[in-house]
């Protein structure tokens, strides 16, 4: 019997994603890939997987997954309030995110809502046994490729697992939530900052921009003050001869409002790009929700590279510095004693 996780109730926009499909942009193939590479990396670390393993990107609300395997270790990363249904008539029991859980056949993991972010991640130990397309499992739904049948997960989908039972070892949790940083979103000017007037560039970095409802894996349209092009729009100031679009490119069409292009972005385009989000802050973009407001602040290429390297070092430490976690239904003696000392009461959820 094949080991699988079965979707018994779909979420809103759940897709298989890894680090993206690189090497085929010259053929017009978007890279796709995780909107928040930090979340995916942490989920994989908690599951004991290599960092680039494909996991489920949870978009806004996650699925209910029935375990059709002797056992499976799943790891959740991100602001989720998951519950576990241990048997068909049992009430859903709250469990923690940012840790791994050992699940048994017949149990249902209700991933639930993502709160305060648009994305969270679920990884399974060993990964999903799905066909790799052009070197990647990332779903690119517009072309119907990658992931599970090239689309978001639906009720009835049976996601095959590489392992038919969870590998030995205990459950682990993050030592602390990862700090994604705050303050302005760092950008590097270019490739077409010259297509904007000095006033237009000042508007862009001097104003608040609000995430509109048009925000998805392809990009985010922002609302706010309009950015002036150097040449009048009716004289072609918002048209360029198409060139390549990198991750985080911020294009400004004739209407003057910025669009940040993310994982499912097209490979080339004909609007001028005033700036590009520094890769250190792309995961923050991948977590933004409609209505949230950001500011942009300029850094140099060298500063952006340095910030990214520092973040990756911090991420590597977070992924290496995992703590033992209490198995569901088991006793975590360390935590029991610790909380007794602090609170003077027995941890209420520890079974007697």
């Amino acid at each position: 019997m094949t080991a699988a996780l079965k979707v018994i109730r779909p979420g809103l926009f759940d897709t298989l994603q890894d680090k993206g499909r690189t090497g085929y942009m010259a053929l017009g193939m978007p890279t796709a890939g995780a909107m928040d590479r930090i979340g995916l990396t942490l989920a994989n670390a908690l599951a004991g997987n290599p960092p680039g393993t494909a996991g489920i990107e949870i978009g806004v609300m996650g699925p209910d997954l029935l375990v059709e395997a002797d056992s499976v270790r799943v790891a959740l990363a991100g602001p989720l309030s998951p519950t576990l249904i241990e048997s068909p008539d049992a009430p859903p029991k709250p469990i923690d995110s940012d840790r791994s859980h050992l699940l048994k056949r017949g149990q249902v993991l209700r991933v639930g809502m993502v709160e305060g972010s648009s994305t969270a991640y679920l990884a399974v130990a060993g990964g999903f046994a799905l066909p790799v397309f052009m070197g990647s499992l990332s779903t690119y739904a517009r072309a119907g490729i990658g992931g599970f049948e090239g689309r978001k997960l639906q009720a009835g989908d049976s996601l095959p697992l590489k392992l038919d039972h969870a590998p030995a070892g205990g459950e682990r949790k993050l030592a602390a939530p990862f700090d994604y940083g705050s303050g302005p979103i760092r950008i590097v000017w270019g490739p077409q900052d010259e297509s904007f007037s000095e006033k237009g560039r000042a508007t862009f970095i001097g104003s608040d921009y609000r995430v509109s409802k048009e925000a998805d894996r392809m990009g985010i349209r922002f609302e706010g003050p309009t950015i002036e092009h150097a040449v009048a729009v009716e004289k072609g100031g918002a048209d360029i001869i198409s060139d390549g679009i990198g991750p985080g490119a911020i294009q400004v069409p004739g209407a003057g409002l910025p669009i940040v292009l993310l994982s499912d972005r097209q490979t080339v385009g004909g609007y001028p790009k005033i700036a590009t989000v520094a890769s250190v802050d792309l995961p923050r973009l991948g977590r933004l929700l409609p209505g949230q407001t950001v500011r942009f602040a300029a850094v140099t290429v060298e500063e952006a590279e340095k910030l990214r390297r520092e973040q990756e070092a911090r991420l590597a430490r977070a992924a290496a510095d995992l703590q033992p976690a209490r198995p569901a239904g088991g006793i975590d003696l360390a935590r029991l004693y610790e909380e007794n000392l602090i609170d003077g009461v027995v941890y209420e959820r520890a079974p007697v």
């Binding site: 942009m25 072309a143 198409s242 390549g244 990198g246 080339v268 290429v301």
Partner: protein, 244 residues
Amino acid sequence: MSVRYLSCGDTAFTVEFGNRISPQINGQVMALHGAIGAARAAGELKGMIETVPTMRSLMVTYDPMATSRTALQPEIDALIARGLPTEAKTRRVTIPCCYDDPDFAPDLAEVAERTKRTPEQVIEGHLKSAFTVYVLGFMPGLAYIAGLEPALYLPRRSQPRVRVPRSSVAIAMDMTTIYPFESPGGWHLIGRTPLRLFDQRREQPVFLAPGDHLTFERIDRKTFDRIAAEAEAGTLDWSTLVTE
């Protein structure tokens, strides 16, 4: 040759050869694309990820964990300084196209009227155009193919269609294209090819490549149906469409 380097954040930069559409500029872009591919095959350019050619520029993406802009840009400069081949190796590709079914060519009459020609003259103009694939993009396998007969230049439709059938052959501005998927689109539909430009069952899912020289060959509906059936079944011999 002078190029400009444009920043695309800390994971990419663009090498801009010019700011106009010309076969010479595109030839240089494709030559650098090829030279970088060869250099990487020889183990150079560590930390580089991929290149994205367009009509006038080449975007170079890299991993800032493995290299830096400061390290990589001089290596690209050195490749350009060594001299790029002036004539990149190109393929000649023939695309069968059926213009005769009104369902395939809903805009043929309007294009004829607006260019003050007969529908038959529009088809002839498309058939005698010497096309070159400048760039792929917008969606996987969608090629921007320049070289349309100047008499047929028209801007895009003011109202794009919500649904353009897969494999539609269309024209706009100085270009033609072939829709690899059913998708929205604003170009004028003048025919349809039985080929599938993107088919993930093939080892090389995308058929066209930048730099391909391309002409269309007129086929009737019966031939269309026969080739379409082969394309559907995956038995079509694509090599008959290409000469090196």
